[in-house]
Every structure is written in C-alpha cells, then in structure tokens.
Symmetry: C2
Subunit: 405 residues, 2 copies
C-alpha cells in the first residue's frame, strides 16, 4: 500500500462538475489500494476575482490582508471536495494550511515554508481519513495566514509528500506531461516518460509552465518522485525523478523558447578593473535579474558589454543604464527587445560532446543569427531574433531526433 499525494489545479476544480470528476479520480486511487492525500487550488478565476476586489477597495492593498483574502479560495474547494467524497462514502476531511501544520516565514504573499508539523495529518491518515488540504497557504509564528506565491499549491503538495515520505506526488493539470518541446510550436513533440529534477528545473526556469522551479527544487532536495499528468485525459504522464542511466543515453531531452527577454549593451566602456562590478551592483540593487552577460574582446582600452534581462524590467533598466553610462564614462547605451532565447536541455550533455556544435550548425543552416550564447552542464542557450524563435525550435527538435516514434 503506497501513500500518494494528488494535487489538482484551478482548472481541475473550476466548477461542481469538475469537482465531482476529481472526487472520482481520488476514489479510484483509493479503491486501487492507495492511501491518498489531496491538495487543491482555488477554482480558476477566483483568485483573480479577489485580487480585483482588493484593488477596488485600496490602491495598494496591504499584504497581510491580501493573504487573509486570497486564502479563502482554497477553503471553498477543499470543503466542497470533502463533501463530494463523503457523499461517495469515503471518510474525507478538509484541512487548512494551518491545520496541516505548514509553518512559514512572515513574507506575506510570497512566504517560504520553514517546517511542517505533520502530526495531525499523519494521525488522520493513520485513521483511514482522506485529507483534503488547502494548497498555497500556511501560517506564520504569529498565527497569521500567509500565502506561498505563484505555484504555491504545487509546493504544498511536494512539501507534504516530503514530510510524510509519500511514495509519489502526482500533479494533475491540463497538460498530460512534459514534452520535448511546446506542442503548439512543434506538432511532432513527444511526451517524455521520465525527466530528471535538473532537467525539469532548467525547463521550468526556461519558460515551460508545467511546474514552478521552487516545487522542483523542493522535490529534488527531498527526493520526492513527482508525476505530471492530465486531470482530463487518461495517460501515464511524466515522472520527474533522480537522474539515472537511461536518461544519460538521451543527449537532449527538450527544446524550449522564451520570449521574455531584452538586451542592453554598453558601448565604449573603459576596459579596467571594477567597471563590471559597478554596472551589475547598481542593476542588482534595483532588483533586476540579469540572465546572460557577454563582454567583447577589448579594442584598445575600450570594450562593449551586453546583458539580458526580463522584458518587463526594460523601462526601469534603460533609465538606470543611462545614469550608469554617464557615471563610468561609457559612450552610449543600446537596447533591443525583439529577442528570444532558445535552449537545449539534457543530462546526457554531461557525457556527450558535440551538442553545441550541432546546435550552431543547425541555426546557421536556417540562416538564424546567434547574438549571445550561454552554457551550463546540462543546457545550451542562444539569444536570437524573436521572429525566428519558432523556426529555431522546430529545426533543433528535428536535428536532435526528438520527434515521435
């Protein structure tokens, strides 16, 4: 008999019909002999509705009060699912973040889990109860409700699975697994049976919307096997787990694209020690996350320096960059926002060489110019013109043999 944590997102509990469907899925696992703990999000749309009310009542709503407000959405769905399961004859019980003992810090609206006091929920499981737990929320040491930020319900599920030493954590969502590329861009993309935590982390941070990075990090840290599968379509889904021999055989497991990119270049920067520190110190202090950095080979005593940032931060970054340029004596600042990043991810890169070469060759054959390159142990990323992103993804997907069958 294995312990399974099942997490259902907002679209999976969007209305009464879907809540009943979720009850059927839970009942099926239970009848198959599993011990089940369920984690739910709020009905899709509910969080947006509450946020809108808050902004109607106050221009800049207080964050502690925002958490009090937003934490109601999951309480509605857990009560309704517990009712549905009880009416099917199961001893189900709803539990809030407080009641399952999710203790967080006090960073309202983006709290971090500090520990889980799982005694009550363990006792419930021991009694044969199906706990239905509110995702996304916890409680701080002052007994105030906190919320965990974006993807918080996934994190609740993974953290409970870790605390209870569950055999697996199933994230039910509206896609049926992790693909080799976005199927909207590459119709031939293939669902993967298995990816490693590291690959999933790269995929998550690169824009694949299946699982948030925080949840994957947590799962990796505690070795929780996570399965991503569809609420609506039968299937095996994708298992996210520790790297193994099988995975190393696959050189590239996925191709991703990210349009959320902009590039800033300082032209004619004095090539002397301390300049980079002054630039990136100031940018970091403004809370702008820098992704790639490239410094050209120096020509005389001047050089050019480029970096990429999230596109939404560009206006803020431009003002700042102009002040910095004046300060350090750079000639000018150039900005480009119609760019995208395409990346290859795969743990097999550790043991297989030639991946970078084949990637550049493929893009060259397609006539796509590479503006910036960055690499890590299991990833290669290239910044290109935004308009070529989908063409790049499709050609790389084919070049690395990722198609179906």
């Amino acid at each position: 008999m294995s312990l399974v944590v099942q997490k259902f997102g907002g679209t999976s509990v969007a209305d009464i019909g879907r809540i009943k469907h979720v009850a059927d899925l839970v009942a099926r696992s239970r009848r198959a002999g599993d011990t089940v703990l369920v984690v739910l999000s709020a009905m899709s749309g509910e969080t947006d509705r509450l946020v809108k009310l808050a902004h109607e009542v106050a221009e800049c709503p207080d964050e502690r009060e925002m958490d009090m407000l937003l934490s109601t959405g999951e309480r509605v769905t857990i009560a309704l699912l517990a009712m549905a399961l009880r009416s099917l004859g199961f001893d189900a019980r709803s539990y809030t973040g407080r009641q399952v003992g999710i203790i967080t810090d006090s960073m309202h609206t983006k709290a971090r889990i500090e520990r889980i006091a799982a005694e009550r929920i363990q006792a419930a499981l021991d009694k044969g109860i199906i706990p239905v737990v509110a995702g996304f929320q916890g409680i701080n040491e002052q007994n105030d409700v906190t919320t965990l930020g974006r993807g918080g319900s996934d994190l609740t599920a993974v953290a409970l699975a870790a605390a209870l030493k569950a055999d697996r954590c199933i994230i039910y969502t509206d896609v049926d697994g992790v693909y080799t590329a976005d199927p909207n861009v590459v119709p031939a993309a293939r669902r993967q049976d298995k990816v490693s935590y590291e690959e999933m982390l790269e995929l998550a941070s690169l824009g694949a919307k299946v699982l948030q990075s925080r949840s994957v990090e947590f799962a990796a840290k505690y070795g929780v096997p996570v399965v991503v599968k569809s609420t609506f379509v039968e299937g095996r889904g994708t298992l996210v787990t520790k790297e193994d021999r099988d995975m190393e055989q696959v050189v590239v497991s996925g191709v991703t694209g990210d349009r959320n990119q902009a590039k800033v270049t300082f032209i004619g920067v004095p090539d002397k020690p301390g300049i980079a520190a002054r630039i990136f110190g100031a940018i970091g202090a403004a809370n702008i996350l820098v992704d790639m950095i490239i410094q050209n080979v120096s020509q005389g005593d001047l050089t050019d320096l480029s970096f990429t940032i999230p596109r939404a931060d560009l206006p803020k970054a431009v003002d700042l960059a102009k002040r910095i340029a004046k300060d350090i004596g750079a000639k000018s600042v150039e900005v480009k926002d119609q760019i995208a990043k395409v990346s290859l991810v795969g743990v097999g890169m550790r043991s297989h060489s030639g991946v970078a070469g084949r990637m550049f060759e493929t893009l060259a054959r397609e006539g796509i110019n590479i503006m910036m390159i960055s690499t890590s142990e299991i990833k290669i990323s290239c910044v290109i013109e935004e308009k070529s992103m989908e063409q790049a993804i499709r050609s790389l997907h084919q070049a690395f043999g990722l198609e179906k069958g």
Copy 2:
C-alpha cells in the same frame, strides 16, 4: 475614551462602495476619540451562494465541511475592510474567529460560544490597532472551524463587547432602530430611544427581525448596552439596556404581529390525569415547538384541548395528532392555519394594571374575535384571524397612545 464594538451586517458590506462607506463610519468614530473594534458579516448573498454550491456537490453536505465552506465569506469582507481602513491611514487588522479566540463547542453549523480567549485582541487594542473581526465563526477544542448559526455575527459582536467590557455594542443594520410597531403596517409607528433587554427579547421572539434572541440574552446576561442603528441613515437608533425608572412609566412599548402560527384542537378528549402529558410528550419528541396551550372547561368527562405551533410544522403535526387522537380516545382533530398572534410588550405592565382589559376592549370594538390568550409578566398575546392582524395592530397602537409626537 470609550471602547465601542461596531457590527455591520451583510447588506452593509454588500459591495465595494458600501465597504468604503463602512470604513468612513469607523473612521468617524475613531476620529471622535473612541477605541473601535469592528465585527462583520459576509457580503449579502454570499452565504446563499456557498450553500447552493454545497447542495450541488452533495445531497446532504457534511456539517463540519459546511462550516469550513461558510466561514470563508466573513474572511473576504474583513480583509477588504482592513485594506480600506489602512488606505485611509488607520492601523487596521483583520482577525478570524480563531484569531480573536472565540472557542465554541463542536455543534457544527450552530455552535455555542464556550469562552473567549481575548488576549490577542486586547493586545491589538492596546497597541492602537482597529481589529476587524469575522463574525459568525469560532473554533472548537479540536482546532476545527465552527459557525454560530443564524444571527451569529450579532452574537460575536455582543460576546466580544462582553469579554472586552466595551462601553457599548452598536449593531448597524438596514433599519434605524426598534419601533413601537412594524412601520409597514402602522405608518405612525415611532422609533424608541430605549427598550429593556426583556422587552427586546419578547420583541425578538415575537417576530421583530432586528436582533436575534440569543444575542439579546447574551447582552442581558453580561449587561452589554446594545444600540441598533442604520448604516445608511444618520440617527440615534435604539438603546437596548437594563430596565430603568423611565421605562416603567411606559406601559406598552410595542405591538407586534406574527403570522407564523397554526392551531390544532383535540375535540372530546377524556378529562383524566396523564392525557396532556401523552399529547405533548409525543409532540415534543417530534421536535415541534408548542407555543400556547388552552384546555376548555370540562363538560361531563370530556374536554377540548387546543395548542399553537409554527405553521411550517403543521403537516407533520396533523399526522401525529391523528395518531395521538386514536391512542387517547379523542373524538376528532381540528386544524386552523389562517391565524395570527398579536402581542403587547412592555415592562410597565409589571406596575400598571388594566392593560389586558383595554386590549380585549379595543379588539372587541373592532369586531375582532379572540381565539386564545396568553400572558407573561411583560407581555399579552391574543390569537386572532389572520385577516384581522393588521387592523388589530393599528387599533392597539392607537389605543395605547404609541403614535409619533
């Protein structure tokens, strides 16, 4: 500086505009130098919406889960009002029933308050915070959310006022006070400046919808002065307080009517000991609340016995009465549902005689037949034909000099 508990009902927080208006009312009290604690209901309509969802998901929703579901409504309004007050520059904070320490028994959906652990809320008041408290909810010894049933938010307000020894508890609602009669029936009805707890209790149980009996009982027990006033119209409202000399001068303080009545009569009941016990034992066992009981003067060894019950219970009562009649050997059962009860209430009745006589005389002059009479220390009630109810109320209101000016 006095401590004031202000309670606002569902229509007072029905939308963002009204929540802002409530914030203004609270701000005004605060600026006038009062220490304020606010208790809120859910937005009007919200509880009905949630109950409907529950009944869509399960035929007979579990009561613990119902409390988890219904307790979300007040959490939304308290968070929104706290945000509104904070954006006006006040240090307001929302608190759930648990956070203010309202400990109840475990009778889900109709829990009773057992005690209030007011340390946290007292500490907040001491720091100058305006606490905005979720009405209607508490927590039991197992840390589960409970709700207090109908009128539960009034009860939260009165109980907190008692625990914190507040100077007064103001119940803001959609009427501007307690009247001498329903103004829809008697246009000349007068708002009363002051009524006693006992009068208010009689008025509440007689159908005046201003305050629930439980809250009045609680206020009387702990001597909490309660003011009923309008959220929407300026005015002094009505003070509900301990009986005093002034009140005794007023013989009758109000006339009420109640259509929720039905009469059952056993004809030809053997007049011997134990019969009444068998009848009312069986009716009580069926959870039917009997109001008035009248036994006719015996003729020979037979008598007639009538009693009134809530009209909704009539079908259940008729079946039961027929079985009882057979059992005790009564001749037949008669039923009448087109009846109403009119009542005069006033603590002055204790010291003034002749009230009953004047009531009967007034009804006789109007040609209204009295079917049953019952009296208490501060109340006289008559059962009459339903169609004459409004005429009776108007004539009594005039006969006892209750009109304006």
